[in-house]
């Protein structure tokens, strides 16, 4: 599903060249539930951004679903993300002027341009799966943090993406809500066979995944598969 080969990412900060990812290679298969872990500043978010087609490596190659993304331009990358990738953010990032229903519907209208009947069907399915059917008409500021993340999960999955990237998805949630959200993601992973890639510190997520990739100073120090 994802092949990263000899990835290197560096930033020029004045006269200092800061190398965040160092010659990193990684293969992630379809349907994996994988967590990238590591201390703060280890480069896990940078790696996630590159694998998620949001950022380009300084050198190296990335292919996602068989397509080389390093040679794509901005619009091609946007279209590719809209078609194949879903994102779940730490602070939910729902659009405040849209209702719960409209937030989930957004990628289907603005990105995939689907017919209204098809949109309705998919949104209601997802709303039901994340248990938010009764909150459809509420706005993000009218629901709790856990509910917002459920909506964000539904929004990430509504386009039936091949891969979902989640950067610290439980960091803004209390413990109980975190478990509920993780359970939901596991359920969605199983039901949709979607590849989930987390960048997290959260032990609760780490204990649920079937593969843990540890990064320290931009290099993979451990890649552990866990059979569940």
């Amino acid at each position: 599903m994802i092949k990263a080969n000899n990835l290197q990412k560096s930033y020029q900060m004045g006269e200092i060249n800061l190398e965040v990812i160092k010659n990193l290679s990684l293969v992630i298969n379809e349907g994996e539930f994988i967590s990238i872990v590591g201390p703060s500043g280890s480069g896990k978010s940078t790696l996630l951004n590159m694998l998620g087609c949001l950022d380009k490596p300084t050198s190296g190659e990335i292919s996602v679903d068989g397509q080389d993304i390093t040679s794509m331009n901005k619009t091609q990358l946007a279209n590719f993300r809209g078609e194949k990738i879903g994102f779940i953010f730490q602070s939910f990032n729902l659009i405040p002027v849209l209702s719960v229903y409209e937030n989930i519907e957004y990628p289907l209208i603005m990105i995939q341009n689907l017919e209204e009947n098809e949109r309705k069907k998919r949104v209601f399915e997802l709303l039901s799966e994340v248990g938010m059917s009764d909150q459809a008409n509420k706005f993000p500021n009218q629901i709790s943090g856990g509910q917002r993340q459920r909506v964000a999960i539904a929004r990430a999955l509504v386009t039936s993406p091949k891969i979902v990237f989640a950067d610290e998805p439980t960091a803004n949630l209390d413990s109980k809500t975190s478990y509920q959200v993780i359970d939901l993601m596991r359920k969605m992973h199983k039901e949709h066979n979607t590849t989930f890639i987390f960048a997290t510190h959260d032990e609760k997520i780490v204990s649920m995944v079937n593969r843990i990739v540890t990064i320290v100073d931009g290099e993979i120090t451990d890649d552990k598969r866990i059979s569940k």
Binding site: L54, D55, T75, N79, R81, N93, I95, L98, M110
Partner: protein, 412 residues
């Protein structure tokens, strides 16, 4: 597009106070431009109508050199019979011309048997004068169907007051002809004529046949030919069509005639140009208001929503769609502002007409303003506001579309 409009509308309503303030600024700008246009058009069209429809006509033809010495009312610079015949032939063949009239302009001594004064006079053919200058009879106080018969004179209001002469009184005119011989004739005052702004606006009138008698003219002789067009907007075209007249030569093989439009003859045209310039200045101010206010709101809007832009970009919203979102927001501000501005302008114009605002200009007083909103002005202003709104939104929209999603998502 429907969804882009929906999201843009909600984004504008997110900060309703700011949206209201920006819309109000645009509304005020549109109101001022439309109101100024309506008032100045009312003033202009009334004054231009007065000048062209009651005195100057649209085009005048004179013998070469007449206009330069018009203040002296020279009798030796009149058009002769041959020239008049040639001119009328060309005028009769021109489809743009509705009618034309002949005048002899002259000076005379006006006496009421007690005292005397100088008077400037237009000797006219009343029927032709009436059809060429439809507002002419409206200037005559207590006018009747036959505005002027032979042996009658219309005297300017100020002279009537100064000399204590009224309708029905007898007066004497004494005039020199071009050879210098003096002649006098009795006239009955047929009416008092109101002054208007511009050259000849305070002249008296009498019959052209009487002028021939008093000046002892035997052949056809006229000082000026006044032309009325079917469509005033075709002045330039008609002037072009009358070019053959410019080619008429005198005995010295120099141009025999001069043709002028009213814009060259009346100093009021300079006021019209000044009003147009002021209108343009107000439009420039409006453009600045729209440009600055929308640019300000859109820049603020982008800075406030960087993370949100990063989110929709990360989800795969194409840069083009992000540009459309911000352009629509700017456009909606402009459309809303101009729409309210137009509605308020209609109300203010209606109120102005209902109140009936009067003004004075030159020696004319109690003139009533009748402002009307012209469809052309409304369309013009709406297009200006919409185009400027789009221009003001382009830079912030491109900035939003070019944001790097990773950097944008890092913002708090």
């Amino acid at each position: 597009m429907k969804n882009i409009v929906k999201i843009s509308y909600r984004n504008l309503m997110r900060n309703s106070r700011r949206t209201l303030l920006t819309t109000s600024l645009i509304t005020i700008g549109v109101l001022f431009v439309l109101l100024y246009g309506a008032l100045s058009n009312s003033f202009k069209s009334y004054m231009v109508g007065q000048i062209t429809d009651s005195m100057l006509g649209h085009i005048q033809i004179h013998k070469k050199g007449y206009i330069a010495s018009v203040d002296n009312l020279p009798l030796d610079k009149n058009l002769n019979q041959k020239q008049v015949e040639k001119i009328t032939k060309i005028l009769d063949e021109n489809e743009n011309i509705e009618s034309y009239t002949f005048r002899i302009k002259m000076g005379a001594v006006f006496s009421n048997y007690v005292s005397s004064t100088n008077i400037r006079l237009n000797a006219i053919d009343p029927k032709r004068e009436k059809s060429t200058l439809p507002l002419f009879s409206s200037r005559i106080k207590d006018s009747h169907k036959d505005i002027l018969k032979k042996g009658e004179i219309l005297i300017p209001e100020l002279l009537a007051k100064g000399m204590g002469v009224k309708k029905g009184d007898s007066i004497v005119l004494v005039a020199n002809n071009k050879k210098g011989s003096v002649n006098g004739m009795n006239f009955k005052v047929a009416g008092v004529i109101e002054p208007i702004t511009g050259p000849g606006g305070r002249d008296g009138y009498f019959h052209i046949e009487d002028a021939r008698k008093i000046l002892r003219i035997k052949e056809v002789e006229v000082s000026e030919i006044v032309i009325r067009l079917k469509d005033v907007d075709k002045i330039k075209q008609t002037m072009e069509m009358l070019k053959p007249l410019n080619e008429m030569k005198n005995q010295k093989d120099k141009p025999a005639l001069e043709i002028h439009s009213w814009t060259k003859l009346s100093p009021f045209y300079n006021i019209v140009k000044m009003l147009d310039l002021m209108s343009l200045s107000i439009k420039v101010i409006l453009i600045s208001i729209v440009l600055i206010s929308i640019l300000n709101v859109m820049i603020m809007s982008v800075y406030e929503r960087i993370k949100e832009i990063g989110t929709i970009a990360a989800m795969g919203t194409p840069p083009k769609t992000i540009i459309k979102l911000f352009l629509t927001e700017g456009l909606m501000l402009g459309v809303l502002g101009s729409f309210i501005g137009i509605i308020v302008s209609f109300i203010v114009v209606y109120a102005t007409n209902a109140i009936g605002i009067t003004y004075s200009f030159g020696r004319q007083s109690d003139l009533v303003l009748h402002p009307t909103l012209q469809l052309g002005d409304i369309v013009n202003i709406s297009i200006i506001v919409i185009v400027i709104s789009l221009i003001a939104s382009i830079s912030p929209a491109i900035k939003a579309a070019n944001l790097n999603p990773v950097d944008a998502l890092r913002q708090n």
